[in-house]
């Protein structure tokens, strides 16, 4: 058999000559991606995705070769969060696909629009336990908005279009497309099959009902003596920040955010009381507790936000607005509900909301603010928080911060004041250590005219340390700040406070020279103490390319206040001795 015939039989052959007027599955995928606005793909190749990588050479889409597929998914996630576009990641079948699982789950928990493309063995080998065959559809069912297996080259275009539509519409989320190699190499005419696969969902609320519900919520809001708004991540996703800000100013309604909602509205407008939940601001938590009406927008009331749900906002009537009907009343029973695009709902609500001064309510809030400041709750982030503020002060206004998970995350989200809704990126729902460095890569590629600073702890940093090679290879000017306390700090704090200071499996040690590691990857680096960081910050600021700043932190530096597991939002611990 001739070489070409052998290659064709094996599903490797890309039919260009004989099928001039036709396109291969791989070409259709790339063309459809381009039509859907994809500019970059974060990926890692394997034999089963080579048909795509081969055709990428002629495509305007730029492929960034990451050093691990998990990082590819995080980078696509970071890109999507920083730009508002759909992120795209690509891996081969088997281990490539399974490596992406953590990244996909992270995107799912925070509703990031993401397309995960996975290679797959040829269709005739499916179910034969072939080399690098994995049922990635089955594995990712609970962590994707939807997934597709491409069975036929004729359905590639319509499926890809539907995948994009699903990823960015309604409540956004990751959609996986599994691509058998023979489908990538088979050919057909583009546009040969119309997109008839659109799924239809039952319409939950009629426009008339919706308007009635908006009026009802506005009436409750106007009548309330102690109203508050909870802003969730859905407000940014629904692009409703400006409208909500207008409503807040008109009604003079104080607001709190969830961790994912931080930055939705400029925090300097005077109505922001901070973020709620386990590691949230005391003032935000106590105000929720005393409010008589809550308007929750784009939040699912995660257990991290509410703490003990039985004792959450005991005096309040609760109204919830969300585009996702399944998020309404899922975790907290609500009195009024509105399933709607948030921007539309708030726009319609603004004229119905009365201008009100609410002097008594603000007097009470100010009193609570003074009390909480006396208790020292603002000092909870200590020198690490001050360092983060110092970095923000020297960076350009629109710098994007990307936080990892652990103590560093709480320090960052409580100290960094984002100037734009996308100015602070962190993974909330999944709590994925190792997120920040690859997500910062994606963010930097997405917003090339803006500075990006990744904050991490030593634990999270080690989890995707290989991505320093990606940063170095592409010379991406990402700044990385690693708080090194030689420990898994959050675990150490929990063991200290709730396990009788019996420390186990939390010490990472200080035998690794991070500065030397970074330099080994080709990245300039320096080390400072958290109490004396000026010179390091200055050097980082002045470095044109990537830079790693290792910040040495005492392992007993914790984060306060916090709500112990099982307690209500007003039962906070302020110091180690409480």
């Amino acid at each position: 058999m001739q070489k070409a015939a052998i290659l064709e039989k094996c599903g490797f052959f890309i039919k260009i000559g004989r099928y001039k007027m036709e396109k291969t599955g791989a070409e259709i995928i790339l063309q459809t991606l381009k039509e859907e606005g994809t500019e970059v793909i974060f990926g890692y190749p394997g034999a089963n995705t080579l048909p795509i990588h081969d055709r990428l050479m002629e495509s305007p889409i730029k492929h960034y070769l990451m050093r691990h597929e998990q990082a590819a998914a995080h980078a696509a996630d970071g890109y999507a969060r920083a730009t508002g576009k759909v992120g795209v990641c690509l891996s081969t079948s088997g281990p490539g696909a399974t490596n992406m699982v953590t990244g996909i789950a992270t995107a799912y928990m925070d509703s990031t629009p993401l397309i995960a493309l996975t290679g797959q063995v040829t269709t005739n080998l499916l179910g034969s336990d072939a080399f690098q065959e994995t049922d990635i559809i089955g594995i990712t069912m609970p962590i994707t908005k939807h997934s597709f297996l491409l069975n036929d080259v004729e359905e590639v275009e319509s499926t890809l279009k539907e995948a994009f539509e699903l990823a960015r519409s309604g409540r956004p989320g990751p959609v996986l497309v599994d691509m058998p190699r023979d489908v990538l190499t088979a050919s057909c005419k583009l546009d040969s099959k119309s997109n008839n696969g659109q799924r239809s969902k039952k319409q939950h609320t009629s426009p008339k009902e919706k308007l009635e519900q908006i009026k009802q919520i506005a009436t409750y809001l106007n009548r309330a003596e102690r109203p508050i708004i909870i802003i969730g991540g859905g407000v940014k996703l629904g692009k409703a920040c400006t409208q909500l800000s207008e409503l807040i100013k008109k009604g003079r309604i104080p607001f709190v955010t969830t961790m994912m909602g931080i930055g939705s509205i400029d925090s300097s407008n005077g109505f922001n009381l901070g973020f709620i939940g386990t590691h949230g601001n005391e003032l935000a938590n106590s105000t929720i507790h005393h409010s008589d009406f809550i308007l929750a927008v784009g939040t699912r009331f995660s257990d991290r936000s509410t703490s003990n749900i039985e004792e959450f906002a005991p005096l309040a009537t609760i109204a919830q607005i969300d585009i996702d009907p399944t998020s309404i009343g899922k975790n907290i029973k609500v009195d009024l509900q509105l399933i709607s695009d948030i921007r539309e709902a708030i726009t319609e609500m603004i004229p119905l909301v009365e201008k009100k001064e609410r002097p008594e309510w603000f007097q009470r809030i100010n009193k609570e603010r003074e009390l909480s400041e006396k208790r020292g709750s603002r000092e909870g982030c200590g020198p690490a928080g001050k360092l983060i503020s110092m970095i923000q002060d020297v960076m350009p206004e629109k710098t994007t911060a990307v936080a990892d998970v652990g103590l560093n995350q709480i320090w960052t989200v409580r100290s960094w004041q984002p100037k734009t809704p996308r100015g602070l990126i962190t993974c909330g729902g999944m709590g994925t250590m190792g997120f920040s460095v690859p997500a910062a890569i994606g963010a930097k590629i997405g917003v090339q005219n803006q500075e990006v600073v990744a904050f991490s702890g030593d634990g999270g940093f080690y989890m995707n340390i290989q991505e320093l090679a990606t940063i170095s290879y592409y010379n991406l000017p990402v700044k990385i700040v690693v708080f090194n306390n030689g420990n898994l700090g959050m675990i150490r704090q929990l063991q200290d406070l709730f396990y009788g200071a019996r420390f186990n499996a939390c010490e990472l040690g200080n035998k690794v020279d991070m500065v030397m590691v970074a330099k080994g990857f080709g990245i300039d680096a320096g080390r400072v103490s958290v109490n004396d960081p000026e010179s390091g910050i200055e050097k980082m600021r002045k470095t044109d390319g990537p830079y790693l700043l290792e910040v040495m932190v005492d392992p007993d530096t914790y984060v306060f206040p916090l709500i112990p597991p099982g307690l209500s939002n007003i039962e906070m611990i302020y110091r180690r001795s409480d």
């Binding site: 089955g138 609970p142 799924r199 039952k202």
Partner: protein
């Protein structure tokens, strides 16, 4: 799993993998599916799934929300006893003993069973009714020598639409 039985009726897209996604929701929340019936509706692109599962009411609400999240699920309805008509089909294989012949004939008559296969020493009976009636029939025939049963699980329709 303790709890009450909940009857859930779903309209879903008639596509590969949909049943697996639906069943997966119950599996990952730790609920057993007591019975499950699936078939296409008058629209060949839409299938109806009728499913019985045991859980408490709050958990059922959460399960319904997770089901509604699935892209291929068009509609989820929980059906109660009063608002719906429910039927199940059961086949009962009975080893025939001479001394029971008359009693079996009487029971077939009383319960409205259909004999759909009859050999000299083995009967197969068919019963179509609601779940309670079927349990009664099974309890009655049990001492008479049931060899094998096959049941479809509950199908149901809302009385008012």
């Amino acid at each position: 799993m303790n709890g009450e039985e909940h009857l859930i009726s779903m309209l879903v897209n008639n596509k590969p993998g949909v049943l697996s996604r639906v069943a997966g929701v119950f599996g990952r929340l730790g609920y057993n599916i007591e019975s499950l019936c699936v078939a296409a509706t008058t629209d060949p692109e839409i299938s109806k799934i009728t499913l019985v599962s045991k859980s408490n009411s709050d958990s059922t609400e959460r399960t319904k929300k997770q089901l509604e999240k699935l892209v291929d699920v068009v509609e989820v309805t929980e059906l109660g006893q009063i608002q719906s008509v429910q039927r199940e089909l059961i086949l009962i294989g009975i080893k025939l003993q001479q001394e029971h012949r008359a009693e079996i004939a009487r029971a077939v008559d009383i319960f409205g069973c259909k004999i759909i296969s009859m050999k000299s020493d083995y009967y197969i009976l068919e019963v179509v009714d609601n779940k309670e009636k079927i349990e009664t029939v099974l309890n009655y025939f049990a001492p008479l020598g049931i060899e094998e049963i096959a049941r479809t699980g509950v199908i149901a329709l809302q009385k008012d639409k």
